[in-house]
């Protein structure tokens, strides 16, 4: 590339000797032109985030840049600059936006002060305080936040995640930087908010003709916004090129695998063949409101998690419950498990009522319905051997310890971990492996209904597709019925017979994936669909 804005040559980032690898990033080279968006894609541990931090000299202590590396911004090698020179650059010629909006702002300082700081630190024009404030209000307005004057006087806790991320972007753009580094800025946001922020970044980039290095793990996002793509794995660049070249004709097998793993590309479109039998699980008019006190004179805060939910699931069906945060989908799953008690409504399982039953009936019920949780690192008792964790269920229901452990070993084998895992502890396994253990634990009681509460959301894309495949196999083999709770419509499309869309505690639409995608009825469903990253690019794969 002639005259790139930023040219990274042979970047190697050295980790402290106690780590499990020597390099976080090894001999990475990439260029960013002005007025283009380059997406840096990879899974966790690929080194993509480190690369961005290295550009601005924000690496954690004891992590260093190798001497042979060069990071050249419009002719200046950033690796050779001293701290004072770097500080002049930061926030002025290169700005950065981070992943977690909830913790990226100083909780004890007003928004206005924090945004103004970006200008105060680079106030070469000698602007007065009022002028600075006016510029802040202007930029807060430019990022699409309503009532900028009020925002300026607010504290971060009074803003939502999406709003905070807009503030971060405002801070980053205040000094008209040439290069914007965006480190997974939308990963922690809801799908609809993500769409808004992505659109915002694209618009601002085009307006200001900035170069943008956008880090993500989601190929859907890449498809939507990238001009060029760089794929990383284990600290190395595996492939790079224009968006179309890489997405349509990936050369490296890793890239091919990653693209193949993007969910929703093998959509199951069939609804379950017209069984009009009694549904296995029937939920009627379920209601739940959470009330939290907040101080003596403030009114208590109420959150409506379930506002009259009606839902039936047939035996053998996989129903996905899709919604954003606050939709009540997780609460629904927990209410079905009776981990949370609803305020009113009924749940019927195989013809028997579930709520308001005595302990014995609850025990019988629990044997038939099991749940897998989202966080693989919190789902297993750190002080319990994996085999015991799986065997406990059957043992409580009367099996002998020896039998239960034998069954546990078989299950572990089935989920792909090998029988020897029985005597190991959770910390010896990776996130994906722990989810497999959780699946084995759930299946130990031979349930009829399996609830997966965002069971793959915390996993890397390639692992995610493996676990989804495993679930599909097990479902077919054991004749399971599944309620799959997720925020990702693409995942829902991939595995379910029927998709249920939830918003603010209510079900707004239900249908087979193909039908829902082709012909959404409710406005919210349309918004969700429109927000799906990579919809245009991957759309043709979601055949009806």
């Amino acid at each position: 590339m002639t005259n790139p804005l930023l040219s990274i040559q042979d970047l190697s980032i050295v980790l402290p000797s106690s780590g499990d690898r020597a390099y976080a990033v090894e001999r990475l080279s990439l260029d960013i032109a002005e007025n283009e968006i380059v997406c840096l894609v990879g899974e966790s541990g690929s080194g993509k985030s480190m690369t961005a931090h290295a550009i601005l000299g924000l690496l954690p202590p004891r992590v260093t840049i190798d001497a042979r590396s060069r990071v050249v911004l419009e002719g200046t090698d950033l690796t050779k600059l001293d701290d004072a020179a770097m500080r002049k650059l930061r926030g002025e010629r290169i700005s950065m936006v981070f992943q977690e909006p909830m913790s990226a702002l100083n909780p004890l300082q007003r928004i206005g002060a924090q945004v103004a700081e970006a200008l105060q630190l680079h106030n070469t024009a000698g602007l007065s305080a009022t002028a600075i404030e006016e510029r802040c209000i202007a930029i807060i307005d430019a990022v699409g936040l309503p009532s900028p004057r009020q925002i300026v006087r607010s504290y971060p806790f009074q803003l939502s995640g999406g709003q905070r991320q807009r503030v971060m972007i405002a801070m980053a753009l205040l000094n008209n930087p040439r290069l914007l580094l965006a480190d997974e800025p939308t990963t922690a946001l809801d799908v609809t908010t993500q769409r808004q922020i992505l659109d915002l970044i694209q618009t601002l980039q085009a307006e200001r003709k900035m170069g943008v290095l956008f880090i993500t793990h989601d190929f859907g996002v890449v498809a939507d916004i990238a001009d060029r793509v760089v794929v990383m794995r284990h600290g190395r660049v595996v492939e790079q090129g224009t968006r179309d070249a890489v997405l349509r004709h990936p050369q490296h097998e890793y890239t091919q695998a990653l693209i193949a793993a993007v969910p929703g590309r093998h959509a199951r479109s069939t609804a379950l063949s017209g069984k009009t039998a009694e549904p296995l699980l029937k939920i009627e008019q379920l209601r739940k409101t959470f009330v939290s006190k907040s101080g003596l004179f403030s009114p208590p805060r109420t959150v409506v998690a379930a506002d009259g939910i009606d839902l039936s699931i047939q035996e053998g069906e996989t129903v996905s419950v899709v919604g954003e945060s606050g939709s009540g989908k997780s609460t629904l799953g927990r209410m079905v498990m009776r981990l949370i008690e609803p305020d009113s409504g009924t749940i019927t399982f195989a013809g028997q009522p579930v709520l308001g039953q005595d302990a014995a009936a609850l025990r019988a019920y629990r044997k038939q319905v099991q749940i897998i949780f989202q966080d693989p690192f919190a789902s297993l008792n750190p002080r319990q051997k994996v085999g015991d964790a799986i065997a406990r269920g059957p043992m409580i229901y009367g099996a002998s310890r020896a039998d239960a452990l034998k069954a546990a070993a078989a299950l572990l084998e089935r989920v792909g971990l090998g029988a020897s895992a029985v005597n190991r502890f959770p910390h010896e396994f990776s996130g994906g492996q722990r989810q497999r253990i959780s699946i084995a634990r759930a299946l130990a009681l031979k349930p009829r209904l399996l609830i997966a509460d965002e069971a793959v959301s915390a996993l890397d894309v390639s692992i995610q597709s493996q676990v989804l495949a495993l679930l599909a196999e097990l479902k077919a083999e054991l004749g399971l019925t599944m309620m799959f709770i997720t925020h990702d419509l693409r995942v829902a499309a991939e595995i379910s017979n029927s998709v249920v869309v939830m918003q603010k505690g209510r079900i707004v639409e239900r249908g087979a994936p193909g039908q829902l995608f082709a012909n959404p009825q409710h406005a919210y469903t349309r918004t969700l669909l429109g927000a799906m990253p990579g919809l245009d690019f991957f759309e043709h794969k979601l055949a009806a």
Partner: protein, 276 residues
């Protein structure tokens, strides 16, 4: 378990503390051997300075051997420290576990009850209890336990509240585990680490409280304890500095050792991300 022991063995300050502590315990156990006889006996001229007339650390106003007093006082301090902490742990863990696990109104009221104990000036309560109920080992232990349990309860409640909501506990509920089983198999083993650390630090503070009580004349009158030795030396600071210096040093070293061990345990059991 083995991993924990190995990690501790590699912890420099923790090991230092352990070595000192073992020396203290050894002194307590061998006191009758190295310092036979009663520490209350007059064995030398009053106010003998250290390193004179065979008095290692000098003698006090009544000619009693300071070194012997310190050696025998070790038993008193350690015994009271351990017993009162044990009682405090039992009360604290039970109250905290109940409050944290049951939650709701009961939990909140238990918490308020615990907070009440933290509102009162602890040492004053000890003085009151021991004075009114007549000073003896039993009342001292009761008094110290009574002011030490709230911290343990608070800690335990916090752990239980947090752990109760963790996914692995929820999963165990779905497997059909009974509440008792949940507490014993799932919650308690994971809550134990901070409680153990708190317990070890509580022993140190118990020793400090006991010495302060004895200093004020509220210790068991039959026991020669370090605090008592310092208390009786108070008015003789000018003439016989060694009377108060050495017992105090003994307290300092013992408490320091226990604190080092406790913090070493904390580093080993609860490794935190911010290492430095």
């Amino acid at each position: 378990m083995k991993a924990i022991v190995q990690s501790f063995l590699r912890h420099p300050s923790g090991m230092l503390g352990l070595v000192i502590l073992l020396a203290v315990i050894a002194l307590a156990l061998t006191a009758p051997i190295f310092f036979p006889g009663d520490p209350w006996d007059t064995v030398a001229a009053p106010f003998t300075p250290p390193q004179t007339d065979g008095m290692l650390l000098g003698s006090d106003s009544l000619g009693r051997d300071i070194a012997s007093g310190i050696a025998h006082g070790t038993r008193v301090s350690l015994m009271i420290g351990v017993i009162s902490t044990f009682v405090a742990l039992v009360i604290g863990v039970v109250v905290g576990a109940l409050s944290g696990y049951v939650g709701g109104r009961v939990g909140e009221w238990l918490m308020r009850f615990t907070e009440l104990f933290q509102t009162i000036p602890a040492f004053m309560l000890c003085i009151l209890l021991v004075a009114i109920l007549e000073p003896s080992i039993r009342t001292v232990v009761i008094a110290i336990a009574l002011v030490s349990w709230p911290q343990v309860a608070r800690l335990t409640r916090g752990e239980f509240l947090a752990l109760k909501e963790r996914e692995f506990v929820q999963a165990a509920r779905c497997q059909g585990e009974s509440p008792l089983s949940l507490i014993v198999r799932y919650i308690l083993p994971n809550a134990l680490s901070p409680i153990i650390v708190a317990g070890s630090l509580a022993v140190a503070s118990a020793i400090l409280i006991e010495s302060a009580l004895s200093f004020m004349g509220l210790g068991d009158p039959n026991l020669m304890s370090w605090g008592f030795m310092i208390g009786s030396a108070r008015t003789m600071l000018r003439q016989a500095w060694w009377m108060s210096f050495f017992p105090g040093l003994a307290i300092l070293l013992t408490v320091l050792a226990i604190n080092l061990v406790g913090e070493g345990l904390n580093d080993v059991l609860n490794p935190r991300i911010s290492r430095q």
